[in-house]
């Protein structure tokens, strides 16, 4: 956003990932029953324990009701009209190398700016590309293997490391957790798996790039990251989808486990198709993300930039079990046109001297509705626990809404919880100041808005901070003036 022409280019661009890849897919019929779950499990040649787990989840899901407490309005979702599995048709087994990947897929990711060739621009980032719930390529596997880091599609990990899956799957987000997570447990198709062994600092950024392509399919991926004692890993997910008039369901689950002295940094740049300017189409993004600081001195940090989706429902949280463990949540969420976002975090303090920080920046424009919803819960065992929350909302336009719903539940006399929040529109004084220095109104607004989000952007890995900033400008297109 360094000058006008670049900026106006950004503003004219709109949603640039809205193309459809014409590729033959293996999509099962719409509807959900036990046979569908068995079929998915069989396609993946899963061990019995996993199938049993999926079936338990399905049985539980049938007893559950869709939650409606969020500040969201959308037409009812017909869960029987969705296909629960779609994969690009492959000629037999999974590709062994990039050479075996369908060139159309490679072209898709190239178009999205995601480097599947290891010599590409983001040479320091290993990428797992997930296309309609199925992992199509993972880069830098060899170099990661040297360090002992496992980074592979979830379905591959099920084959190669079933003991890790059995030990950790569902240990942070149990299959009974909530409506969408339980649905995911029953029907998830793929996702990413990361294991960083004891004492290892992962040599590069890990990244998964999620792409929804097929119509009328739900995307249910599942990510599991385990950082063993004393290890470090930084992980980033990006998401896009074609422009379609129908809404599509995305119900992912992410589980993070940090053992003693381990650190996980999880960043998301969410840019699912948000629907058009009249609110038609767009992804329904119902996601459950939770990390557990299981060991002492461990640290989990969530950073999210949420610019896409018609509906966003997600609360990446931390269960701070280990003594001295640290949870962080940094979020920028925008809601423009008819987007609705209900997002925030949950920090559950169990261990002594656990600390958490929450920084949330919400931007509402057009008819967008943006809600911060956060829970800070301090249990009686969490002596000396501390939380600090800062939650700011910015309104650009008079038809949008900005809502702040924090929940503070403290049960420990030695704990401190602090929450601050503000809601306002952009300051006239700041605008005039920038204009007096020669900046046009749109540039001035963009500059002030990105300043507003800076605290969060600086938490992103360098390679993605710029992308996030650009996305922000695109997402607020037309919001000013």
């Amino acid at each position: 956003m360094s000058n006008n022409s670049e900026l106006s280019a950004l503003f004219d661009r709109g949603y640039e990932h809205g193309f459809v890849t014409d590729i033959e897919s293996d999509t099962i019929a719409a509807g959900l029953d036990e046979s569908v779950v068995r079929l998915i499990s069989a396609k993946k040649r899963e061990p019995q324990f996993l199938l049993d787990w999926r079936l338990r989840a399905l049985a539980h899901w049938r007893q559950m009701r869709e939650p409606h407490w969020a500040h969201l309005h959308y037409p009812p979702i017909d869960y029987n009209a969705i296909s629960y599995f779609s994969a690009p048709k492959a000629s037999g087994n999974a590709p062994k190398s990039l050479d075996e990947v369908d060139p159309k897929l490679l072209a898709t990711y190239a178009k999205l700016g995601v480097p599947l060739h290891e010599r590409a621009r983001l040479a320091g980032v290993a990428v797992d590309a997930v296309f309609d719930s199925v992992s199509v390529a993972t880069t830098f596997k060899a170099r990661l293997a040297e360090a002992g880091v496992i980074f592979c599609p979830f379905s591959e990990a099920v084959q190669t490391h079933p003991q890790l899956i059995e030990q950790y799957l569902g240990s942070v987000v149990p299959y009974t957790d909530n409506f969408y997570a339980t649905l995911n447990c029953a029907v998830f198709s793929d996702g990413s798996f990361v294991y960083v062994p004891r004492g290892v600092r992962c040599p590069m950024e890990l990244s998964t790039y999620f792409r929804i392509n097929a119509a009328n399919t739900g995307q249910f991926e599942r990510t599991l990251i385990i950082a063993d004692e004393g290890s470090h890993v930084s992980y980033l997910e990006g998401c896009t989808a074609p422009m379609r008039d129908e809404n599509q369901l995305h119900a992912a689950v992410v589980e993070l486990v940090a053992l003693a002295d381990a650190q996980i940094k999880y960043s998301t740049v969410q840019n699912w198709y948000p629907g058009d300017a009249t609110g038609r189409g767009g992804i329904f993004n119902f996601v459950t993300k939770r990390g557990e600081c299981r060991g002492r001195n461990s640290r989990i940090s969530w950073t999210q930039v949420e610019t896409g989706s018609a509906i966003t429902w997600k609360y990446p949280g931390c269960v701070l079990r280990g003594e001295n463990s640290v949870g962080e949540f940094y979020s920028v969420a925008t809601a423009n046109n008819y987007q609705q976002a209900d997002t925030g975090t949950k920090m559950i303090h169990l261990g002594a001297n656990t600390r958490s920080t929450i920084v949330s920046k919400g931007i509402s424009a057009g008819h967008g509705q943006n809600t911060y919803r956060g829970l800070v819960k301090v249990m009686p065992s969490a002596h000396g626990a501390r939380n600090f929350t800062r939650c700011d909302s910015l309104l650009l336009g008079s038809s949008c809404g900005a809502h702040t719903f924090p929940y503070i539940e403290s049960r420990n006399a030695q704990a401190t919880v602090e929450h601050e929040a503000s809601t306002s529109r952009i300051s006239e004084d700041q605008l005039f100041y920038c204009q007096q220095r020669g900046l046009g109104q749109e540039d001035a607004v963009n500059m002030i808005v990105s300043g507003f989000c800076r605290e969060v952007f600086k938490e992103l890995p360098m390679e993605f901070a710029v992308e996030a900033q650009n996305l922000l400008a695109v997402s607020l297109e037309g919001a000013v003036g």
């Binding site: 204009q435 007096q436 020669g438 989000c453």
Partner: protein, 256 residues
């Protein structure tokens, strides 16, 4: 004599329905330094803000021409790009927006308006650093948010730094001297003098004459109750310093 750079004629301005300026006329030519002095509430800041194009001020009569063009018809950013700079009395903090970034964006906006190319990042940094030395500003402030957590003196020096970088044709400095200690006043005065040249003009809006010890004005105007009640040279400022404003106000009241 050259054509006026700024020509204010019979300017009347109301704020929220209340008249604040009751017909102000002022002519500033390139190369000149004018001081507009007056007691608090006399309309000095209103005049500065109206010239810079801030909303909330209603011009009910009169005209302003800048380099022969109708200034009042221009958006605030167009005025800035045309070379009008306002040094704010209370510079705004813009959290998270890098100081250097704003400076560069502002400079490029001005350069583009002049049909010049954008400045090379390296040249920009060298140029800014040199000017920061003139203004005795710590380089670390470049990477901080705009005025974020700056002291009062730092904010004022930062305003003058921006002025030096943007090289405006007309600099309107609104109470730039307020809240400065003796040393800072000297630095700010030096900064302003650096800008003086036959192509540029400076209008100092001030309550006290002490800045005028460092920046010697060609003309001094006294603005009171929304009117310029007396104009003169440097001597007028010194007289005001000795005698205060009351004698002038009384004289003006007697005439009215």
């Amino acid at each position: 004599m050259s054509a006026p750079l700024l020509q204010v004629d019979g300017l009347r301005v109301s704020v929220a329905g209340t008249p604040v300026l009751h017909g102000v006329s002022l002519t500033v030519r390139a190369g000149e330094v004018h001081a507009i002095m007056g007691p608090n509430g006399s309309g000095k800041s209103t005049l500065a803000h109206v010239l810079a194009g801030r909303s909330g001020y209603a011009v009910t009569a009169g005209s302003v021409r800048f380099d022969g063009v109708d200034l009042l018809a221009m958006a605030p950013e167009e005025r800035a790009r045309a070379g009008l700079f306002l040094g704010f009395q209370y510079p705004v903090e813009i959290p998270g927006v890098n100081n250097a970034y704003l400076l560069k964006a502002a400079l490029n906006a001005r350069r583009r308006a002049r049909g010049e190319s954008e400045i090379d990042a390296f040249d920009f940094l060298n140029m800014v650093r040199a000017k920061m030395r003139v203004m005795q500003i710590d380089e670390a402030l470049l990477t901080r948010g705009v005025n974020e957590g700056f002291s009062g003196g730092e904010k004022k020096r930062n305003e003058i730094l921006q002025m030096l970088v943007l090289e405006p044709r007309l600099a309107l400095l609104d109470e730039t001297d307020s809240g400065l200690d003796i040393d800072a006043l000297k630095v700010v005065g030096r900064g302003i003098n650096t800008l003086r040249s036959p192509e540029r003009a400076v209008v100092l809006v001030t309550h006290y004459q002490r800045l005028l010890d460092h920046v010697v004005p060609d003309q001094v105007h006294v603005l009171a109750r929304g009117r310029i009640i007396k104009s003169g040279d440097r001597e007028l400022a010194l007289e005001l310093e000795r005698r205060g404003y009351d004698w002038l106000l009384e004289a003006a009241a007697a005439v009215a």
